[in-house]
């Protein structure tokens, strides 16, 4: 049976938009492909909404779909040409101008794209404000494993940042 009607929860997806968009940005650096992936995520959410049992968990449910699809889509070790270094972003951080925010965001997503997917996911979820238990439930791993992955992600992040700084000098 064809069903093109909107689910009643679809209007509430708007409230999850920033979180979903950030998740997509973590898997794709190219702006055009980001929008394409975002559409794919929205389509999957659209199709999955009838199966959501607890409307209170809409964000969790939608983000799980976004991370699953993002992982399938991601290009490993992608790099944007001319992405800014953390140092450059850091110096401009207190400046509220759009340019410095742009540089910092660009650095963050560039460096995220260089993390292995299993480490990237936990870091993105932590940045989104999820605790260990929630991350474990979303990813289907133990809370201990979340801790291990986060530790490795941060180590790698520091290492990448140091490499970038040494490259500049």
């Amino acid at each position: 049976m064809l069903n093109f009607r909107m689910h009643s929860l679809w209007s509430k997806i708007e409230t999850c938009h920033p979180q979903l968009w950030r998740a997509v940005c973590g898997y794709e650096l190219n702006p055009a492909l980001r929008e394409e992936l975002y559409q794919e995520v929205l389509l999957a959410i659209w199709e999955s909404l009838p199966k959501l049992r607890d409307p209170e968990r809409l964000l969790f449910y939608a983000l799980r779909i976004a991370h699953n699809l993002g992982a399938s889509h991601a290009r490993q070790a992608a790099r944007t040409p001319g992405a800014s270094s953390f140092d450059e972003a850091y110096h401009g951080f207190d400046d509220c101008s759009t340019g410095s925010n742009e540089a910092q965001r660009s650095w963050l997503f560039d460096v995220l794209s260089r993390l292995p997917l299993n480490l990237r996911q936990v870091l993105m979820l932590q940045l989104e404000g999820f605790d260990y238990g929630e991350m474990a439930e979303l990813l289907g791993i133990s809370a201990e494993n979340v801790g291990v992955r986060l530790h490795r992600a941060r180590q790698l992040l520091r290492q990448l940042s140091l490499e970038e700084q040494s490259d500049e000098h």
């Binding site: 199709e47 963050l108 997917l117």
Partner: protein, 188 residues
């Protein structure tokens, strides 16, 4: 501000406010509708092709074209099914599962799909070998009608092989990348 706060601030600064949600909803609705019709067209095309060939087999006397083109249809239809209808479409229940479960299920799908692509390449190569042999046979023992039909078969087989190689290479690259991504997800 420490590095944690900086990372979080940079993360939260990306809010996608430039996107027009109304137009995205329209696109999603259109995409959703297109998927249904695409599936319907695939099924209709396959049924029509099978009916045409079955009709030719049942209603007419078997001519050289039928004998020679029989393997083409025997290869063409299963390969088209493998490539199009058995492509690893994302199932809704897979996408909503915890990531490790999603990765495991999707890996199984992708492995099957990569095997199907290999099978499609082998069958296209097999068809070409058959058509070359048929061509040689028709030239040695057949009349003008057999020769013409065998040449047509060879042309179709060559075109089919080139198209299959290009398509499986393109699909295989994407599916292998996704396969590697998901395998990476399952590592600790």
């Amino acid at each position: 501000m420490n590095i944690e706060d900086q990372l979080r601030a940079a993360w939260n600064a990306e809010s996608g406010e430039h996107l027009d949600l109304a137009s995205l909803t329209t696109k999603v609705r259109r995409h959703h509708r297109r998927r249904y019709w695409q599936r319907a067209v695939e099924v209709i095309l396959t049924v029509v092709t099978m009916m045409l060939f079955a009709h030719a087999l049942i209603s007419q006397a078997m001519q050289p074209a039928h004998w020679l083109l029989l393997p083409f249809f025997a290869i063409f239809l299963p390969t088209a099914w493998l490539l199009v209808l058995r492509s690893p479409r994302l199932e809704t229940e897979h996408a909503t599962a915890p990531t490790t479960v999603y990765a495991q299920r999707r890996l199984v799908q992708l492995k099957t799909s990569l095997r199907d692509l290999r099978l499609a390449r082998r069958s296209a190569q097999g068809l070409l070998i058959y058509s070359v042999l048929a061509c040689v046979g028709a030239w040695l023992f057949g009349d003008a009608l057999w020769r013409e039909t065998a040449l047509w078969l060879l042309t179709f087989a060559l075109a089919w092989l080139v198209a299959t190689l290009l398509l499986t290479r393109w699909l295989g690259r994407d599916r292998r990348r996704e396969h590697d991504n998901l395998r990476n997800l399952l590592e600790n």
